[in-house]
Amino acid sequence: MITRKRLAAGVCGLLAAMGVALLPTPATAGEPDAKPSPKVELTLDVSGSMRARDIDGQSRMAAAKQAFNEVLDAVPQDVQLGIRTLGANYRGEDRKVGCKDTRQLYPVGPLDRTEAKTAVATLTPTGWTPIGPALLGAAQDLKGGDGTRRIVLITDGEDTCAPLDPCQVARDIAAQGIHLTVDTLGLLPDAKTRKQLSCIAEATGGTYTSVQHTKQLRDRVHQLVERAADPVVTPVPAEGSRQCADAPKLKPGLYTDREKFAEHRWYRVDVRPGQELRAAVSIGADRAVNNDYGVLLRASTVHGREIVRGAEAGDGRTDVISSGLRYPKAPMDAPDGAEEAPAETVCLQVSNSFSAPASVRTDPGMPVELSVDLVDGPSDASDAASFGLGHGWWLLGALTLAGLVAGLLWGWISRWRVTVWRTN
């Protein structure tokens, strides 16, 4: 196998050398100074119930403070972190006032650890649990910039401020297309709290954790803050239209959109001859949906002829359902008078077969992530086997037999010729 390895190494070396010589490497694109810094807001419930002393023998508030202190010490350099409280100030019984009680404790920005810790230390469990308004406030705090945004919501009880449903609030925030994720942590949650918090997480593509111990709280918050610091491609908002004719033209890239149940969204991509279109779509199930669902991504010509499709169906619990397609356009010679052959406009249709019980709101639509890519076309197969080469014992047997027969024939013919020559 030495030959093979050497060959491979040689080819790789050559390719690498060519790559270095010809192309600026993509790795340079992610320089830290050019990267938009991710923003995180820790949103802490400081309602009266946080006084309960049931996490590792200390109060929920003390556990949260301890966790915050340790997390603040380890926040990655480039993360902009803020802290917001809910229910920290109003002691009274008036629900209307209590439900507006959310305040930014520490502004989102480069972190001054001492200042942030001092601010956290002053908190005492006080009032109501206005999760919805707190989420709205947090989304406001995180405005601006292109980086990812993350809200880490820590609470021990469900929202007491109906009719504003925090789950719907979260979905509306996520639908603004600002790459916002809400991760929720419930401190010893009851059934209602769990349902509400997991609904908020589901609505924004976040995670839900049920916390029983201080260490668990600290590790999880730390993990979520670290996660925010990971570099990630942020998709560009696009709005697909109802038919292909007026659909937006997409260049290669990653796009987000929203699609309601049974809605169709169209996009257009220009594919030049000799190029291959690659498209992938994911539709997120960000709300309670019926058990069976599917997605269809279809590429068709502007005249409506289907070229190729990608479809997928599934059932049960899921975050997204996705599918993809490839469409290599055959190379074509440029027509007379033109420099290159004209590009073909390919219509991409995204549709879904999600459904939901009547009680579920359909607006805003479910999140769609569409990735469009154009690469050079493949070198097509001229034979089923690689270069038409053979493989296996039957091939050897057949070739050997053929060789033997050829040798025998050759020998007999030459012997016969010698005999004929000798007799003459």
Binding site: A29, R227, A385
Partner: protein, 276 residues
């Protein structure tokens, strides 16, 4: 007798050639232990939560992640032509005392175009009893080919996403801490599945836009899914069919010589008197 000897020689020579081909196959199928040890030490300890944020892993590199029950955990690994990937996952469940019933865990594998890939072997989905401590899942993909028709979803070289999640559980158990371990291994299948044709770029998200975007420095960071196999993507041109075919050609030549000589007997026509 001479004929027999010649034929035996030919067959032995052929077998020698074949030994080369067969050895090649065996060599590449078993990754050297030292390589797997050195890469295995530094496996990632976090997992992504979506296709976009999937954590890159290498074959034979164990990845671990602490998560909450109900999280969707994503990893991504590069798989090249002629490789057959096997993904194994082990989930350490929260203590049985804090759980309320059986939970079903599931391992899904998607290709670079986010198309779900079929598992040919392995338990992709398993239900853990209420008192079980761990769940083990595995999925063996089909052998990756260098080319497929656009209408097929045959596995092609590129990124493969692994998604691990719980699909069915009592609602009370959501959000409890779990520990997951995922390890993918690839076995080289040799040329048996080698097809003609090849893709211009592996099925990696952003393969086409990566070079175009490299010019403007402020563009989005390089996605983790763009990781390459050790030594880069293979061209797909080399496979052991070349050896088989060459060996066949050599055997045919030897057999031809043997056949030719067999027609000549001892080398002198019998009716010519000795010394003539």
């Amino acid at each position: 007798m001479r004929t027999v000897r010649i034929l035996t020689t030919a067959v032995l020579a052929g077998a020698g050639l074949l030994g080369l081909a067969g050895g090649a196959h065996a060599d590449s199928a078993t990754p050297s232990p030292s390589a797997s040890e050195s890469t295995g030490a530094a496996g990632p300890t976090e997992a992504g939560t979506s296709f976009r944020t999937a954590t890159a892993v290498k074959p034979d590199q164990p990845a671990t992640a602490d998560a909450s029950t109900g999280d969707y955990l994503y990893w991504v690994l590069p798989v090249d032509v002629a490789q057959r990937a096997t993904v194994k996952a082990k989930v350490t469940l929260p203590p049985a005392a804090s759980r309320h019933g059986a939970a079903t865990w599931r391992l899904d594998v998607y290709d670079g175009l986010r198309r779900r890939q079929a598992c040919t072997y392995g338990t992709q989905s398993r239900s853990a009893a209420a008192d079980a401590g761990t769940v083990e899942l595995s999925c063996t993909l089909r052998t990756v080919r260098s080319w497929a028709e656009p209408w097929a979803n045959d596995p092609l070289p590129g990124s493969y996403y692994v998604r691990l999640t719980v699909v069915d559980l009592p609602q009370e158990d959501l959000g409890q801490p779990v520990h997951t371990e995922v390890e993918a291994s690839v076995a080289d299948q040799g040329g048996a599945q080698a097809v003609d044709g090849s893709l211009a770029a592996p099925l990696v998200p952003g393969a086409g836009s990566a070079t175009a975007k490299a010019d403007d420095a402020g563009s989005s960071p390089r996605p983790a899914a763009m990781a390459e196999p050790d030594g880069g993507w293979s061209s797909g041109r080399w496979n052991d069919r070349w050896l088989w075919t060459a060996a066949g050609g050599a055997l045919a030549a030897l057999a031809g010589i043997a056949g030719y000589r067999a027609t000549r007997g001892s080398g002198r026509p019998a009716r010519i008197p000795p010394g003539a």
